[in-house]
Amino acid sequence: MNRRKFLGLVGATAAVAAAGTSAHAAGNTHFTGHPEANAVLFDATECIGCRKCEDACNKVNELPKPDKPFDDLTVLDTKRRTTEKIYTVVNKYENSKNPNLPVFRKNQCNHCQEPACASACFVKAFKKTPEGAVVYDESLCVGCRYCMIACPWSIPAYEYDEPLTPRVMKCTMCHPRILEGKLPGCVEICPKEALKFGKRDELIKFARNRIEAYPDRYLDHIYGENEMGGTNWLYISGVPFGELGLEEGLGVTSAPELTSGALAAVPVVTGLWPVLLTGLYAIHKTREKIEKKEKDDAVSAALTKAASEAEAKLSSELEKADVANKRKIEVEVKKAVEEALLPKDDDDAPEEEA
């Protein structure tokens, strides 16, 4: 792989990542929910804890029979949560306003406008429908259970005992029934009209009017209007919502917004890092090269220096040698001349020379 190809590949990863961020809802536009979405308003001042909604939910969703029948109200004495077999539970709470009258609250999926579960799911098994319900597609679910981590109200439950095809289970807002034009099972059966079904906008108006009409009866807050970006299940109550087991202080930031910063960092990282790192590597390579060149230069300089020095030495040696030679020659010549000038009749002389 050459560098060009490699950068292309990194670019592709970045593109995937960027596509990722543009696809999710928390861009820089403020999502205010689907205009036609339905909602359910729960009125805690009306609920009598009869558990009829639980019964209806069990029937319409064809859930397994409970251990104790739905008309057994003793189960209200212990706090319960939604499970893989129970999509909705009614719990009993102490009434801080009127200690003799307990209050009840029905618990189920709140069908968030920007659901944490959907935003968390890495296979898009959860989907917010325009009708309001947040629905789950078991044919995609991998069973990572990140949706359960993510849900602020800990609603989704899991079929832990199912070895092969476990599912995430939660209230569907009776989405199939809504599509058929019917009411959700729980809403339909509620004898006290503690549950009211309608368009979300209209229900909010209705709730506000009620709060205004009965200021002594209600707290001035519609739980779910803005919590976590707003939900399609709304609550009004006479006691603080925290006392009804509804998490307070959740803030109005939706789940996708909570994570959008981290997701937005992805293109930055995929875009910036390779450039930066390749740059770093290049700098370090260049530095290495410069160092090498400097070293090479120094070596060759030293070599040249040594060579010229050697040359100089050589020539001076040669010169010296020359001088010596000359002298030697001179000496020899002189000798020869002297020899030649020697009297020839001297017989001993050649022997001496030898």
Partner: protein
Amino acid sequence: MSAENTTGRSALTPFTIVAGIIVIIGLILTGLRFMGGLGAVTNLDNNNPWGIWISFDLLCGVALAAGGYTTTAACYLFGIKRYHSAVRPALITAFLGYALVVFALHYDLGRPLRLPYPIFVSQGTSSLLFEVGLCVFIYLSVLFVEFTPIAFEWLGMKKLRNIVHGWTIPLTVMGVVLSTMHQSSLGALYLIAPNKLHPLWYSTYLPLFFFISSMFAGMSMVLFESSLAHKNFHHLMDETHKAESEGVALGFAKACSWIMMGYIGIKFLGIALENKWAWLGTGYGMWFLVELVGFVLMPAISYAIGYRDRNFGLIKITALWTVLGIVLNRFNVSQVAFNWKLPAAERYFPSMAEIGISIFVVTIGILAYRFIVTRMPVFYEHPDYKGEH
């Protein structure tokens, strides 16, 4: 290469016996898990969907395998050549680490056969888990490619080895990019649950915390693992490796010390910016300080002293200390400080079977590590490729 392999002595060393027993128990537990479902072996419930298979196998596993990108980056990108002998052991650890993370995920996922779904069937791109999954998937492939030259040298496949060897730099860059993303995304996973994670641990800086801590986690793991390797595989190491290992220890100790100090700095910056000082006075605050002072600040100082005094014993101990600190941090985020508002009776504690599977996974890792380092040129340079780096 190793004494155990060539002398034909009995294979029944205490190590192999223990490992054998763990593997057998692991296989039995595996059977129970896949026949009975998650409920048959785990203490997970609807309030606590993630147990130690996520906390330990995934979060700690990925953090501790960070030595792969830190070491290769130091050696190849920052040009610190004297770390070269640390690269291969670190790569092996990282590769095995990530492979085991993916292996362990099969136990935790409700429908493990659908593991490829997020990438190939339906991309939930708004999910941080998608990002983690995609990065881990690609990075595991990168690590695999980075590992192949080692195997090719062992198998004598020169041509292939030289081709892959030529990709070193791009692979290293990819490794750093992918690691940055998924290390931080693991922290970012918890951003979605502000009401469930204790305020001292919940922070918009969580991704940064996870990323920075992964650096010293990875380096400490390289140091810790190398001290174990020196004990057990000393005979396999060539002179370069032995000669360089002191420099690696000193360099990593110094780097860790600095990064850990910086980490403490931004941890407190997080507390200050989000004004959470009051929480420090609570029980959870104490525990937070135990983690930060006892397992980050103190080892950071200890690393600095070890560096200054060239005290290799101290550096080794500090490496283990830091590794434990990282494990503590990941457990705190994912278990101790998670669901902190739930009454004690609804909190999670792992079952024996869950712990057993985690030990089984680690054991498989150690066995694979031994298999590789006793056969392949990890601690020594293959004679055919000497000084070729």
